[in-house]
């Protein structure tokens, strides 16, 4: 154990405004520090993949931790700041978000889901002007996934602000508005409109919608364009800024680097993969728009790969998206370098999943002796546990101070 004790490396002091190393403060609480046996048993490390699995049985975790499992899970620090470089940041109470387009504006599921418990909500893609979207059919099931081509149907940024921002401002869950556009001017105009609106906690730039002719995909496939649109929006607003990457590119690292240089606070990855489904009966493509975006368990390996690559390329937090449907998937993404995750397609099958994942993650961390899930972030990266090995540092995974 001694050998693994965490020490603040002197080199990190040169990190500019980020003098305090998020990884230097393991935030072990005394209550947790007193269980070295369980910590040893379940300690996640590069050499053992086993710890990823006990979480699948909350009962196991509970039995190991005894009657106090619930208490211990309650003390696990799930907070994360997705915009550590920004004054005020984007503090989330937990790293489980709901992905854009799968949760509407947070109101649709009514009282079936307790939205206030979520880490954050990414709302449906919002454009400057209202859009009616693509021709139906717009969704279809595919092997281990689904294709969608909604085509950014939305009431426009004014409509969204009028209809929902007032409600959002009364919520404790932050709402991140997903923004799409056809030109840099569009993105900037929407960002300006959202800037300072109560209820809007941040912006996620959707530069990667594969379903519309000019859905901004051209921004996601070109590093210069991605950097330019990020920088332009950055200048237009002080809101925390996430940029969502497309997997439909040759090398995602250059684009991620450009987005970081453009001033993004975090990167979310990935958007859907472009695909087609066939209507055999009529001998034509099934979707009205021909092309659709593939999501669901089928794309999890792709998402993991992109997060793994981006997390080694940038210092800003990475939000993992793609095929998350169980605690194991969350753990995989965290180990690959994601500081938070977004649940998407799985919500359609099980609307209560995101809230359950929060509890399962806390229980798993408690059962494995982690004071915070953040200790897991980037555990599988080749740079190894922080401070050792070569390569870049892991991306930021900084907690927040308030406890609800």
């Amino acid at each position: 154990m001694k050998a693994r004790k965490k020490v603040v490396p002197a080199t990190r002091a040169s990190g500019g405004g980020r003098a305090r190393d998020p990884f230097a403060t393991p935030r072990r609480r005394p209550a947790l520090g007193g269980v070295p046996a369980s910590r040893l048993a379940g300690r996640p490390s590069r050499s053992t993949a086993a710890p990823a699995h006990p979480g699948s049985q909350p009962a196991l975790a509970a039995s190991r931790a005894g009657a106090t499992a619930g208490d211990r899970a309650a003390t696990v620090d799930l907070t994360i700041d997705l915009a550590p470089g920004r004054p005020g940041g984007l503090p989330l109470r937990n790293p489980i978000l709901v992905a854009s387009g799968t949760f509407g504006y947070g109101v649709e599921y009514g009282d079936v889901v307790d939205v206030q418990r979520l880490g954050a909500i990414c709302c449906k893609g919002t454009t400057l002007k209202p859009r009616i979207g693509n021709l139906p059919p717009r969704v279809t099931e595919t092997p281990a996934g689904m294709l969608n081509s909604i085509g950014l149907q939305n009431p426009g940024v004014d409509g969204v602000v009028e209809k929902y921002a007032g409600l959002w401002s009364t919520w404790q869950v932050p709402v991140i508005v997903n923004v799409a556009g056809e030109s840099i001017e569009d993105y900037v105009a929407v960002a300006r409109r959202l800037d300072g609106v109560p209820g809007v906690a941040g912006i996620e730039l959707n530069i990667s919608c594969p379903n519309v002719g000019k859905g901004g995909l051209q921004f996601a496939v070109d590093a210069d364009a991605a950097g330019a649109v990020t920088a332009a929006v950055r200048r237009a607003t002080d809101l925390p800024l996430l940029v969502k990457l497309s997997p439909n590119v040759a090398d995602v690292r250059g684009i991620a680097r450009a987005i970081e240089a453009g001033g993004a606070d975090a990167i979310s990855a990935i958007n859907t993969l472009s695909g087609i489904a066939m209507d055999r009966e009529h001998r034509r493509p099934l979707l009205g728009n021909v092309y659709g975006g593939l999501s669901g368990p089928a794309i999890k390996p792709v998402g993991l790969r992109v997060v793994y690559e981006v997390a080694q390329t940038v210092r800003i937090p990475v939000v993992g998206i793609g095929g998350i449907a169980a605690l194991e998937d969350v753990l995989d993404y965290l180990m690959a370098g994601a500081s938070a995750v977004q649940v998407g397609t799985a919500i359609f099958a099980d609307p209560t999943l995101p809230v359950r994942l929060i509890d399962e993650l806390a229980a798993w961390c408690a059962a494995n002796g982690l004071a915070s899930f953040r200790e897991l972030v980037g555990a599988a990266l080749p740079a190894g546990p922080r401070g050792r090995g070569r390569g870049r540092d892991r991306p930021s995974a900084q907690g927040v101070e308030y406890r609800p």
Binding site: G101, T102, E108, V139, A349
Partner: protein, 287 residues
């Protein structure tokens, strides 16, 4: 809207490839669903089948909470569903969508069903009879073997059948039968394939002009209601209401996946529908 388990009580094949299943869902009955609404059923294996499957509430016994759904095997999800054994528990989300709206003054109710579309209007037969209205069901199928068994209908329903190949009842489309009933029927409700509904839609649009003479002796109508199109009041006044189906994602209005294009832009089948007044829908583009 509630999310709960329902236990499969009985499952039987009533027509080739078509199944009728009964579930114990007292929680659904307690939510007081109406004809036209639907439930969204979870599939067993998320890693393979990622979407829930929507099914119209075929019948619902309010006393016992026995829900029936009627479906045809069209893919992996329904294949699995047909294999389910009594005792299995399925997770359902419901009741969802907006119901059929019967005008309180309507005495004669015409139901038009094409094939599996019977599942969409079956509950309305019960509801209308319960309210003391007279019900005629026009049913169309490809051939006699696929005609919905009359034993599954309440005896008070007048049941008229059309088959495409003429093996039973009228030979031809079910829509051929509608003109004979359009004067009798105060309101019509339909569910079935898109071309059938589109034909009915155009029939309904011309009905007032054709029946104008029948109105001679009546008091002039009040000024047309100013209820906005798509509102419950406007639908209640509509002569023809249709129940549509569409590939569906979330079924609560979040994903915008199940839209059809209406006169006023895209309409979510799960939220604004599945029941629409015929004049809300743009029938041409997909026909």
């Amino acid at each position: 809207m509630r999310l709960a388990d329902a236990e499969l009580l009985d499952s039987r094949q009533i027509l080739p490839g078509q199944w009728l299943q009964t579930y114990a869902a007292p929680w659904l009955a307690a939510a007081n669903p109406r004809a036209g609404q639907f439930v969204h059923v979870r599939t067993p294996d998320y890693s393979g089948l990622v979407l829930r499957r929507p099914f119209s509430i075929n019948t619902l016994d309010r006393g016992s909470g026995a829900l029936t759904i009627h479906f045809r095997i069209t893919g992996k999800g329904t294949e699995w569903l047909a294999r389910a054994r009594p005792g299995e528990r399925l997770e359902m989300l419901g009741p969802l969508g907006r119901p059929f709206e019967i005008d309180p003054r309507t005495r004669h109710v015409l139901l038009v069903a094409g094939g599996l579309g019977i599942a969409g209007v079956r509950a309305l037969a019960d509801e209308a009879l319960e309210q003391g209205r007279r019900v005629t069901l026009l049913f169309g199928a490809a051939r006699a073997a696929e005609v919905y068994p009359s034993t599954l209908l309440p005896p008070e329903v007048e049941y008229v059948v059309a088959t495409d190949d003429g093996t039973l009842g009228h030979g031809g489309f079910v829509t051929d039968l509608v003109p004979a009933y359009e004067a009798w029927a105060d309101q019509a409700f339909a569910c079935g394939p898109w071309p059938m509904l589109a034909t009915l839609g155009s029939l309904a649009a011309g009905r007032d002009a054709r029946l104008g003479v029948a109105r001679l002796g009546r008091k002039p109508r009040r000024a047309p209601s100013n209820a906005p199109r798509g509102s419950t009041q406007a639908r209640r006044k509509a002569w023809l209401q249709v129940s549509l189906e569409q590939h569906m994602g979330c079924a609560v209005g979040a994903c915008l996946g199940c839209v059809v294009f209406g006169v006023d832009g895209p309409q979510r089948v799960c939220r604004e529908g599945p029941v629409f007044a015929a004049d809300e829908i743009l029938w041409e583009p997909v026909a």
